[in-house]
């Protein structure tokens, strides 16, 4: 028997895995070009370009042609707000959690202190506990805290502390830190402390050593951690759902709201754009990382 012949089982399971991974994406992309407004069945592409004309729920003609739903999307103010919120939250929380998470990883690697094991374990617990529990916990914490502060400082009206962009950002930072720390620690594991000593021996103080030697050599880990934090923040639904407030809707929250009403192909167009952006980001980060080291 030829040892290199693949068993049919392997082939079938491979095909199935790829089918279930990517078929939804393909369908999602396809339906973004659907001419049917209700988007239940695929009724064909929008073929004509010109002033919009809708016949019995089907778009016949559009100024944007096949990209009708993308144009609708671009005109949608709510989507733009949600996208802006999502990116703001993602950037701020990624940068903050990457800095804190990296420093935590370095501290855990370098120093031994009392309660070290405890702080390690307690750092990783948020990764394993269900997100919904975290979400409810954060919500309860914020509302209690805000009530207390609003009462004691007798704040009223606009100056009252409420849920909103700020609370979402804080909670995203909180849940991203353990992931960053985990990834950076893996990178630090094989770190040769002697190169820091070499740097100091050659005349660099602790701060220069950190910037010129320590950080560059763990940079791939830091970048991976940041990417992970960024994607986690971009597509987080559960925790955002509990901590968001009026005017601070994110894309996942907005899409969820749309789905409860009608599923127009706009949702698909939005998702298609979103997936494309994420793919590009992941692609470039991978490239960047394989170039380093």
């Amino acid at each position: 028997m030829n040892p290199h012949r693949r068993s049919p089982l392997v082939i079938v399971s491979t095909v199935l895995v790829y089918f279930f991974l990517y078929a939804p994406v393909v369908v999602l992309f396809l339906f973004a070009f659907n001419s049917s407004k209700t988007n239940v069945l695929f009724e064909g592409f929008i073929t004509q370009v010109g002033p919009t004309e809708i016949v019995s729920g089907n778009v016949i003609r559009s100024p944007c042609g096949a990209f009708h739903w993308f144009c609708e999307l671009a005109r949608n103010v709510e989507v733009r707000n949600a996208a802006r919120n999502t990116l703001t939250i993602a950037f701020v929380s990624t940068i903050t959690s990457t800095i804190i998470g990296t420093l935590a990883a370095i501290a855990l690697q370098r120093y031994s202190f009392r309660l070290k094991t405890f702080s390690e374990v307690s750092l990783y617990i948020p990764i394993v506990i269900p997100e919904i529990v975290m979400g409810i916990g954060i919500l309860v914490l914020f509302s209690q805290l805000f009530t207390l502060l609003n009462n004691t400082l007798s704040l009223s009206g606009d100056s009252q502390l409420t849920l909103g962009l700020g609370t979402v950002i804080v909670s995203h930072i909180a849940f991203s830190i353990p992931f960053v720390t985990l990834v950076v620690r893996a990178r630090l594991h094989g770190f040769d402390k002697a190169i820091e000593e070499a740097s100091m021996d050659l005349g660099a103080n602790e701060i220069i050593t950190f910037w010129r030697v320590t950080l560059p050599s763990i940079m791939p880990g830091v970048l991976s951690g940041a990417l992970l934090a960024f994607t986690l923040s971009l597509d987080d639904f559960v925790i955002t759902f509990f901590t968001t407030g009026p005017g601070a809707s994110t894309l996942p929250i907005y899409v969820y709201g749309l789905l409860r009403r009608i599923v127009t192909p706009q949702v698909n167009a939005l998702s298609a754009v979103w997936i494309s952006i994420v793919l590009v980001v992941v692609f470039f980060t991978q490239r960047l990382q394989s170039r380093q080291m």
Partner: protein
């Protein structure tokens, strides 16, 4: 200028152990290293060589005592403010920097002008025979080449003292021998004081001007290679440097620098040279190097002549290495093959009765500790 480039004055370094007690990594060490000297610290694993070196570099601070560089007390001065540079055993090259960037790093820290950095990096890379490799990353170099980069990176700063912690430890034997010669030549060329750590006695003997032999955190003897080899001051040093035979006995009489020792296993007396302070009645050992013992077919001298039986022999070209059963214990004797002959009679054979002869000046009497 100060006479001593580096000085350790009664330095102690204790480390806490996880069990809660303390370990004396360095135990009351005093060393004075002269300007321009190639000074080695030699000793078995764990004897405190690296710790001593790290205290000079500034990575550790003495628990007690003081390190002086150029006569200046270092106290708790950090490594980046000390006029010394280190070549690490693991080389510790910066993995994300090229060879040229690695070497330039130390000069950039001194704010040396760009053109000057370029010139000095080029010069030093030529000196260590790495020209043309400026743009490579450390991982694209062989072990020997990485070693040279580490050397260049430290030397380019023109330190007062270069500290080297087993810099050749990771190289294979042949490359190691080559690098020993190169390193020694380099040291003479640049005229910088080298403090060299090794556990290889041959390396220390061939390269050093002076050697400090260490054990258990203490310095046992400091001296030129010839002093260390020919006049070891203790059983440990005699044993650690080169090969030797020991006979235990009791000092019976002392006359100037001659000691008469009664050797129970031989039921005879042996006259040796007093190489360490001993008193009559002390338990002592006599150290005899195998190349300094003669074999004879009959009793050649009235004293220091003992009967033995050849156990086995090994012909190794320049020498014949003979093991003699002397009073129940094996004794190694290296007979130089001074005459070219195929006659088996000229060499020794197992079972042969021989006389072992040792001159008093070749039998060193040491304290048995």
């Amino acid at each position: 200028m100060n006479e001593f480039c580096v000085e350790l004055r009664d330095v102690v370094k204790r480390f806490p152990t996880p069990e809660g007690s303390e370990v004396f990594a360095v135990d009351h060490v005093t060393m004075q290293i002269k300007n321009g000297e190639f000074f080695s610290m030699l000793g078995p694993s764990g004897c405190g060589k690296t710790t001593s070196l790290r205290m000079v570099a500034g990575f550790e601070w003495p628990t007690v005592g003081e390190v002086y560089i150029e006569g200046e007390a270092m106290g708790r001065r950090p490594p980046y403010l000390r006029p010394v540079n280190t070549v690490f055993q693991s080389y510790a090259l910066f993995p994300h920097m090229s060879v040229a960037e690695n070497v330039a790093y130390g000069l950039e820290m001194e704010k040396t002008p760009k053109y000057e950095i370029k010139r000095r990096v080029g010069e030093i890379l030529e000196m260590v025979k790495l020209s043309g490799m400026e743009r490579r990353k450390p991982r694209q170099l062989s072990g020997g080449q990485q070693q040279r980069v580490a050397l260049a990176r430290a030397l380019v700063k023109h330190p007062k003292v270069l500290l080297l912690d087993e810099p050749l430890g990771a190289l294979d034997l042949k490359l190691r021998k080559e690098m020993q010669l190169e390193l020694k030549a380099l040291q003479q060329e640049v005229g910088i004081t080298f403090v060299y750590v090794t556990h290889d006695q041959e390396e220390a003997l061939t390269m050093s001007d002076r050697i400090a032999v260490m054990d258990h955190g203490r310095v046992l003897q400091i001296g030129a290679p010839v002093e260390i080899y020919e006049r070891p001051n203790s059983r440990f040093v005699a044993d650690f440097i080169g090969e030797t035979n020991f006979l235990s006995g009791e000092a019976r009489a002392i006359e100037e620098d001659r000691v008469t020792v009664y050797i129970p296993s031989l039921k005879d007396e042996l006259v040796g040279a007093k190489a360490a302070p001993v008193n009559v009645g002390d338990q002592v050992v006599v150290s005899m190097r195998p190349e300094k013992i003669r074999l004879a077919s009959d009793r050649a001298l009235p004293q220091n002549c003992f009967s033995g039986i050849v156990l086995n022999t090994a012909y190794i070209g320049s020498d014949t290495r003979v093991i003699v059963d002397l009073g129940g214990a094996p004794l190694a004797v290296w007979e130089q093959n001074k005459i070219s002959t195929l006659d088996p009679e000229a060499y020794y054979a197992p079972g042969e009765q021989v006389w072992v002869v040792v001159l008093p000046e070749n039998a060193l009497v040491l304290q048995d500790v």
